[in-house]
């Protein structure tokens, strides 16, 4: 009973959640690729930024691109 209502609810929210998840993933992957490919950061190191970008949704990648990305 509980499971079926859960599925129905999921179905109701899916059109909203799906694009949200996709955008979050795109942000995360672009940031992660950038972190792994570049070696200079304004502060911190590669491992720290990789964890921040993957663990913290939305804000992690934004913070990395605004504050952490070093100049080439």
């Amino acid at each position: 009973m509980y499971l079926s209502t859960g599925l129905e609810q999921l179905q109701e929210y899916l059109p909203l959640l799906l694009p949200l998840i996709i955008v979050e993933l795109v942000l995360m992957i672009t940031a992660l690729v950038h972190v792994l490919r570049h070696n200079s950061y304004r502060f911190g190191n590669k491992v720290m930024w990789a964890i921040i970008v993957v663990v913290i949704q939305i804000f992690g990648p934004v913070v990395y691109f605004v504050l952490g990305r070093g100049d080439e």
């Binding site: 059109p15 949200l20 672009t30």
Partner: protein, 254 residues
Amino acid sequence: MKAYIAFTKKEWLESIRTYRFFILLAVFFIIGIMNPITAKITPELLSSLATEGITITIPEPTAMDSWLQFYKNVPQMGLIVLVIMFSGGMTGECSKGTFVNMVTKGLKRSTIILSKFTMSVCMWTISLALCFMISTYYTAYYWNIDGLEQILQSVACLWLFGVFLIAILLLMGAIVRSNYACLLLVGGVVVTLFLINMVPRLQEFNPIRLTSGNMSLITSEMAIADFVYSISITIILTVLSLLGAIMVFNKKKL
């Protein structure tokens, strides 16, 4: 004119290569989706919190709640991200010294300011339009949006405030040399506007009204005519900031 187009193109390339445009789009996309989600999920969250003995009666969410979220999230999160993204535009290039070459080769300093303004406004417009379209689409998907009027006008007010902020950013960027000082000064201007807003007689003329009065436009409590003073003052301040930015920048040592 040729220099203007070339420099605007350079600005465009720069915002793509530094991921600035990408982040703006992503953030505004997320805000656009978050508005209907928050409006829809909040009552269910609250009712799941209700334990035995407590009855919480929550009205069914409506399209109005979704717009309420829109005018809460965009001025807060959206504008903050916008200001942070563009705060380094002037000061960064000054400190890196990339202006020197172009100015000595004959690029007018006013062109730099105007191109930067054009490109920033373009990006702000595209981001806000994206956010607005997504929010409208999902709001219409879940609720009936009949009877809500003046939505476009209220978004236009919000847009104008964003343009005003960009002009202030350019002015402050021309005055100071540090990125953080620029952010601080822009924050100072906004705080001052909020302080002025505490005087009831001045509220009508305050640019802040463009971001705080949006809901009363949608509920038809106010008409766009009530915003005329605020809109004109904002436009005048925007033009003055741009002129000021050009004047200050002309005298600045690069």
